[in-house]
């Protein structure tokens, strides 16, 4: 059963088309992440689902009910904002119970719900405090609690962790994942942080210019990006791209030639077509003496960036930049000559013109 279904959604601000004929369905209990660079329309889409923006065309269904014309509060959603958006003059308890009072619930009902939510989020000690007397992490917990008390079908998160410092972000990320596991609600989560997306999502929707480019589970998106933009956007350090010609299974550029036997092409390739070859830095390995990898070449180390668990090495291949990671305790020095290689099964090939996966 679909929890959320969006049909042909369009939104224009004047002449600017922010969302273009967008279709999306989210299953019950699914954790969907909308990922994209700023200005791609991901927050706008979330606001449309919440009913905070009037849409230009299309329909939105929540729980098999057409909510296109419903007020935000009638849609069965709870929303968590980036800036927390707590009511500063109300105590934590007041913030949590505000929506319940608006819904005219009984006092006992309000009390039990506030108690439950604050237990789940471990903010029982803070109930009497004002938001100004809370830390960033506590505020965000209260903001989540405000969505929690409403006992809704769908949770919407609008970059909830972007205002927190790095350590707290990691902590709260795990907590959101736990919460999802416990509550099993449908959650839609907007972020520009690919780590958050990869770690939290059941499925990721990568957006660009008001369109969903790829909608799939994190692993598929990471290993089989549908086009060059997605490949570049996901993964840090980002993918290496080499421009060249593809002749059968032979990839040629400058004087070098790689045999890419083992790569699963989606369709039959025209002979001699211009393509991008994409290789993730962690898929390039230093060859031992016997050259275990099918494809090999010699490179000179130019910059070394130790990052603890692993080390990022910058080198060049025929003048093109090539990044790869090696194990953290391996000693690599600038000027070293290395033979590196990769497995064609782990590369991505994109058409030069359309940038679509081949």
């Amino acid at each position: 059963m679909n929890s959320i279904e969006i049909k042909n959604l369009s939104l224009n601000f004047g002449d600017v088309k922010v969302l273009k004929d967008l279709n999306l369905s989210v299953e019950k209990g699914e954790f969907l992440v909308l990922l994209g660079a700023s200005g791609c329309g991901k927050s706008t889409l979330l606001n449309c689902i919440a009913g905070l923006l009037d849409i230009t065309d299309g329909q939105i269904f929540i729980n098999n009910q057409n909510v296109t014309w419903y007020e935000p509060s009638e849609r069965g959603i709870g929303m968590v904002f980036q800036s927390y958006a707590l009511y500063p003059q109300m105590s934590v308890e007041g913030n949590l119970s505000f929506s319940l009072k608006n819904a005219k619930l009984s006092k006992e009902e309000i009390n039990t719900r506030v108690k439950n939510a604050s237990e789940i989020l471990q903010i029982e000690d803070l109930l009497k405090r004002k938001p100004a007397a809370l830390s960033g992490g506590q505020r965000q917990r209260v903001a989540i609690g405000r969505a929690l008390v409403r006992d809704v079908e769908v949770f919407l998160f609008d970059e909830p962790l972007s205002n927190l410092d790095a350590k707290l972000r990691t902590e709260l990320r795990v907590e959101i994942k736990r919460l999802h596991h416990k509550l099993k609600n449908t959650m839609i989560y907007v972020t520009h942080d690919q780590i958050e997306a990869m770690t939290l999502a059941n499925r990721i929707a990568i957006m660009r210019d008001g369109l969903i480019l790829q909608l799939d589970n994190p692993k598929t998106i990471y290993n089989f990006p549908v086009n060059k933009y997605v490949a570049e956007f996901i993964g840090s350090p980002s993918m290496n791209f080499i421009e060249g010609r593809l002749d059968g299974t032979n990839f040629e550029f400058d004087e070098l030639s790689f045999n890419l036997e083992g790569y699963s092409f989606k369709e039959k390739i025209k002979a001699n077509s211009q393509v991008w070859l994409g290789v993730r830095p962690e898929n390039i390995v230093i060859n031992e003496a016997d050259k275990t990898m099918p494809v090999n070449c010699d490179v000179v180390v130019e910059v070394v960036e130790p990052m603890g668990a692993d080390t990022l090495v910058w080198s060049s291949l025929n003048g093109k930049e090539l990044r790869f990671t090696v194990e953290g305790n391996k000693i690599v020095n600038i000027g070293d000559k290395l033979n590196v290689g990769f497995d064609p099964a782990h590369v991505s090939i994109f058409d030069f013109e359309t940038e679509d996966r081949l």
């Binding site: 606001n47 919440a50 905070l52 007020e71 935000p72 509060s73 959603i77 709870g78 929303m79 904002f81 980036q82 800036s83 927390y84 958006a85 707590l86 009511y87 500063p88 003059q89 505000f98 929506s99 608006n102 819904a103 938001p131 100004a132 809370l134 830390s135 960033g136 505020r139 405000r146 409403r150 205002n163």
Partner: protein, 302 residues
């Protein structure tokens, strides 16, 4: 002690940098401020001193000298006996008139203008921009143009020379600038708070009263200061849209001070002027503190 200190007599720099209190810059700065302060305070001093003297003492001509015999008679006379035209019951009549004018005008104008500002800032209704432009344009039209048409309007409504008429005038004329003030303040409140309140099921009035208004105390205080002083000090509308029975305090003050018959009672005039100025002065003192306090501090991010 280190060698360098002993030899040169210069202290090794450490801790806060010492500042000279009697530096040339400070003397010039504070000297100027002091002179300006005295310049503004002397008239007030003369007024207070004169209002506490009897007429024989005033005739001696030493306006700066403190009263030899302190008397409150001029204050009492100004409040309850001074003659303005036909009535001889002092400023007290004008004071109560002014209270009856100012209170409703302030409440009505702020209540309407704040809702206007809230609607313009948060609910982007159709034609909002046009409405706002017209309203702002209203702030730039000279009052003089509208005086006579408004006389006719009030007469037709049957409230010309009556207090409700003047209250209506003050409420209308406060609208453009107050709406602008509130709109600009409400736009500084993060939009996400408004969105959160909508998700939480609050509607137009719920959001206004329970979310926006409690966060906007500073701007309400600013608006109250502006309106109370503005309406209390108004003379033009008061003299045009009322009659002797309903004159506000300022008009009465003018009639006392500018009366040509009899002896000029300087002490009564001074006392009457001080009495009239007391209300705005009190407002400044009371609300100043509230005004400075940052009520919305720590509201959203932190």
């Amino acid at each position: 002690m280190t060698d360098s200190q002993n030899n040169s007599g210069v202290v090794e720099p450490r801790g806060p940098k010492p500042r000279k209190i009697m530096s040339r810059r400070n003397i010039i700065l504070y000297g100027t401020l002091l002179v300006v302060a005295i310049y503004y305070l002397i008239p007030l001093y003369v007024m207070i001193v004169t209002s506490l003297k009897g007429m024989p003492e005033i005739r001696l001509g030493n306006i700066f000298s403190p009263p030899v015999e302190v008397t409150f008679d001029p204050w009492i006379k100004a409040w309850s006996q001074a003659c303005t035209g036909l009535n001889c019951d002092g400023l007290s009549r004008g004071f109560w008139n002014s209270v009856q004018i100012t209170l409703p005008s302030v409440i009505v104008s702020i209540a309407i203008a704040s809702v206007n500002g809230y609607a313009l800032a948060n609910w982007r209704f159709k034609g909002a921009n046009l409405f706002f432009t017209i309203l702002i344009f209203g702030a730039f039209i000279p009052y003089q143009i509208m005086i006579y048409p408004l006389v006719i309007l009030l007469r037709d409504l049957g409230i010309y020379t009556k207090l409700p008429g003047l209250i209506l005038i003050h409420s209308i004329f406060g609208m453009p600038i107050l709406t602008l003030l509130f709109r600009n303040y409400f736009t500084t409140i993060p939009e996400e708070l408004f969105k959160a309140a909508r998700v939480d099921g609050a509607r137009f009035w719920g959001i206004y009263f329970r979310v926006m208004m409690p966060m906007s105390l500073p701007i309400f205080v600013v608006a109250i200061i502006m309106q109370v002083t503005g309406i209390w000090n108004d003379f033009l509308f008061g003299v045009i849209y009322t009659k002797p029975d309903t004159y506000p305090m300022t008009v009465q003050l003018n009639n006392i001070v500018n009366s040509v018959q009899g002896v000029k009672e300087y002490n009564v005039n001074m006392a009457a002027t001080l009495l009239t100025g007391l209300v705005p002065l009190t407002i400044y003192f009371i609300s100043g503190k509230l005004f400075v306090r940052g009520i919305a501090a720590g509201a959203v991010k932190g």
